[in-house]
């Protein structure tokens, strides 16, 4: 017997399917239209990379498995849902056409059995997901009604399916057209209700399960569950540009607006990011700002862009407690997202790294900062001095540009401008901290000694070097950044520089990944990579006899997550005859020191200091030496160590300093004017 009973039932089902489909289409189309009205961004090309990511992140659910239990559960739900989609098609056709079955599989026992097993596994996974929300309750997972609607609807839908099968078996016998695994299990007990009861049960549960799935279809675009459609697309369209490259504002002098002040100014991909967010909170759990009580929560930034987009589209998200009244007129910044949230970000990229659906938080935050700086001129007051100094002195400290090379006095280094006819093999890019900051000048001098000892023909730009513009760019002052970048690219090209080594991952990232936007193509390596190579090739020899102080290493965000350099610093430590004792969070999960995104140049007024938080990880290792590879980190840690009174327990040293201290006596003597 067909569950739709007769032609009236069939027509009713048809009407429901058309109705649900239409509602889904209308809602999705609105969201699609508002998305495509976003600013352009090119997400074509590199199809190979895109498909590979799709395979691992979507089909393989790779990021999900970083949390194994929910990873397995979600894997089952994901694949179960895909396979069950086929059976939903079968069921709908069966109801519409009365007893129809898909060729080959529709009534194949293996297909039905597989469906039942999957349905059961999915129900178990859903129960685990519910258990996690009720009992485990990870702090970063905020549960909205939405989540319960989805878990409940899918679970009820599948339960109804299995029950319908059970009743069918009870009513018609578990064989032929009505055979199922669920029928085999439930048919017997349910037969106790008698043939009429079983028939009613069959028809009733069949309809319940159909109504639930149709209801879910209409609900999806208004829910975080929209991610089943949007997040695979989002993974596919993720940027294939270098991770550390922020989009450039082209023709900035003629631009009509700068950065993003309204949600429509985001690119379509930014808007898609909003649609794709599953509200899992993994970004929240990784964010150094959230972890130290700042108002910033990367998940909220994404959810807010979504809410703002929905408001524009005239669509409301359902199933969420929202105390704020959000209208199309609600300002994005200052209305939904507070200034303090934006200024708390260190651009450490831990959020992007953690997100299972490839959402790109950092460019959005910087875009909104751009709006605040370039249009609204609303930013922490400390930045005024920084911007003015960058403009006037090409360093953020308010120190005279003319004194930029004073750190190198007496070292006899080659300054490119002074010996234009003697080309060097490598340019040592010193950066503002290395040039001006007392603590980091020691690093610059140490690195110079190391390069000397290895017999490298290198030089520096001296006073012709200027700030790369990283702090200006990350603080949202794209205009100032462009002026600085342009100047540096011209200087570097003027001297025909090809290869650059630097001890600053921020300089490295900007020159390597962002100067190509200004026609500057240079090979840039971090000094850890350079030194690791020198050690490997034997050009650099170090004295043995290292004391057995344990060393831990703090991965700088701009070296690790931004440029995927994780091994070189560890190889350098190995070259010292030691092993890195890893911190609780290291490599791509390393916690930010709090210095990036121009944060090192702003006051940290709210919450615990991020550097103190990271220092806790350091102290937990019990290591006496904290090896670092970034001047921002060194500055932040020196401050944290000093202000928490931990100078006795741990010292922060740059890799170059550790290496310089182990140079054999003769080469050290020859090189040292230090």
């Amino acid at each position: 017997m067909s569950p739709t009973i007769n032609i009236a039932g069939q027509l009713l089902l048809l009407a429901l399917i058309i109705g649900a489909g239409a509602l889904f289409a209308v809602r999705t189309a609105r969201l699609y239209r508002i998305m495509m009205a976003g600013a352009p961004t090119t997400r074509r090309g590199d199809e190979g990379t895109r498909l590979r990511r799709f395979a691992t992140m979507v089909l393989g659910q790779s990021k999900m498995f970083e949390k194994p239990a929910i990873g397995v559960a979600h894997f089952l739900i994901f694949w179960g849902f895909l396979l069950l989609t086929v059976s939903v098609v079968q069921i709908m056709l069966e109801g519409l056409l009365g007893g129809f079955s898909l060729p080959a599989i529709g009534r194949a026992r293996w297909f039905i059995a597989a469906n039942d097993i999957i349905a059961a596994l999915v129900i178990v996974s859903l129960l685990y997901a519910a258990y996690r929300r009720l009992r485990v309750r990870p702090w970063h997972l905020t549960t909205q009604l939405d989540a319960w609607i989805i878990l409940g609807a899918i679970g009820a839908h599948l339960t109804a399916l299995l029950l319908a099968e059970g009743f069918a078996a009870a009513a018609f016998g578990n064989e032929g057209y009505h055979w199922s695994l669920a029928g085999a299990a439930l048919g017997g007990p349910l037969a106790a209700l008698g043939p009429t009861g079983a028939r009613i049960g069959y028809v009733a549960f069949w309809w319940v399960h159909v109504l639930l799935i149709l209801g879910l279809v209409t609900y999806i675009p208004l829910s975080k569950h929209f991610h089943i459609i949007t997040s695979p697309l989002n993974v596919y369209f993720r940027s294939t540009r270098p991770k550390g490259e922020l989009p450039k504002i082209e023709n900035i002098e003629e631009a009509e607006h700068f950065g993003v002040g309204q949600v429509q100014q985001f690119t379509w991909k930014d808007i898609l990011d909003g649609y794709a967010c599953t509200e899992c909170g993994r970004c929240t759990a990784a964010c150094p700002a959230t972890l130290t009580g700042k108002p910033l929560d990367p998940k909220k930034i994404i959810v807010d862009t979504r809410l703002a987009t929905y408001a524009q589209a005239g669509v409301r998200m359902l199933g969420r407690r929202e105390t704020r009244a959000i209208t199309p007129e609600t300002p994005l910044i200052g209305g939904l997202i507070g200034d303090d949230e934006l200024w708390s970000c260190t651009t450490c990229m831990a959020c992007i790294e953690a997100c299972p659906v490839a959402i790109e938080h950092v460019p959005k935050i910087v875009d909104m900062r751009r709006n605040l700086v370039l249009e609204e001129t609303r930013f922490p007051p400390e930045l005024t001095k920084v911007f003015n100094s960058l403009e006037r002195n090409s360093n953020p400290f308010g120190l005279r540009a003319r004194t930029r090379a004073d750190w190198a006095k007496g070292l006899g280094l080659t300054i490119l401008g002074e010996r234009p006819d003697e080309p060097v093999d490598v340019l040592y890019w010193v950066g503002c901290y290395g040039s001006f900051d007392e603590r980091n000048v020691r690093v610059a001098r140490a690195l110079s000694r190391v390069l000397r000892a290895a017999g490298i023909n290198f030089g520096i730009l001296g006073v012709e070097e200027g700030c790369t513009g990283d702090p200006a760019r990350r603080a949202g002052n794209e205009y100032l950044y462009q002026v600085l970048a342009q100047g540096n690219v011209e200087t570097l090209q003027g001297y025909g520089v090809k290869k650059i080594v630097t001890a600053c991952p921020h300089c490295m990232n900007t020159i390597k990944n962002e100067y190509p936007q200004f026609g500057g193509d240079f090979e840039v390596v971090h000094h850890s990579q350079f030194i690791a190579d020198l050690l490997k090739s034997g050009r650099l020899k170090l004295d043995g006899g290292l004391d057995k102080r344990a060393i831990t290493f703090h991965d700088p965000c701009y070296l690790g997550r931004y440029n995927d350099v994780y091994d070189a610093p560890r190889e350098v430590v190995n070259g010292l005859g030691a092993e890195v004792t890893e911190m609780r969070r290291s490599r791509n999960k390393a916690l930010c020191c709090g210095g990036g995104g121009a944060r090192a140049l702003m006051e940290e007024r709210i919450g615990k200091k991020m550097s103190h938080n990271r220092l806790d990880d350091v102290l937990e290792t019990g290591c006496g030496t904290l090896a670092a590879g970034c001047p921002f980190c060194i500055t932040m840690f020196e401050d944290a160590i000093g202000s928490t009174g931990n100078a006795e327990r741990v010292q922060v040293e740059d890799l170059a300093e550790l290496v310089a201290a182990r140079l054999p006596k003769e080469s050290a003597g020859a090189a040292a004017a230090d």
Partner: protein
Amino acid sequence: MRILVCVKQVPDPNTVVYQIDPGTKRLVRDGVTNVLDPGAEVALEAALQLAERDGESTVTVVAMGPEDAEDAIRRALAMGAHDGALITDDALAGSDALGTAKALAAAIGQIGFDIIFCATESTDGYSGMVPGMVAELLGIPHLSFIRSLEVRDGVLTGQRVIALGYQTVQCPLPLLVAIASGSHEARYPALKGIMAAKRKKVEEYTLADLDLDPDDAGEAGARERVLELLPVEERQAGVIVEDNGDGAARIAELLRQRGVL
């Protein structure tokens, strides 16, 4: 209202290293970045806020200086001033405070105004005399050390910083206010402002345009002479007396040695 703001280009006070030329007794300007005087920025900020509140005013900045002082004017225009005037003439080099005031007053007289804003003093010369002189030359009242102000029906009401706190003062326009340093947080120019500043008008005035003689201003007209310019004595490190029971006696001894007791 027609609002005028006197501004000045000075060596960046944050980075300048004061070197004194023993011959001219002037600062060596070589290799120094010049900026819009931070004090003038504060006066400009006060003026811009007034103009914004009233919505119908124009703000004109007036500066005297070498040709490149136009950079300081452009910065002021980027911050939001509507147009600028630069008094520049080789014969103006070496002007004393009175010479400067005469030139400014002459230009201001030609431009016309309802209210003039000045910094209390410039961040390089610190004479603090120019605002008063300009007001005197124009025959208008001068309100000094103003930290906040409001204009209603042609009357200015403002708060004047005094040692005890502040006075509330009132005066009909036209007049000149000298803005207390640190009373306003000068804005950073928005990018639109920077772009617009490139297209705004800066009128140039020479001595001849102002009907002034070289005797009125410049080196020739300067009656005030700087006899000597000395660097500030470096501050000596203090002495920390740790109290081991005899603290008071040791402090008394130190004071006696210095002739205080």
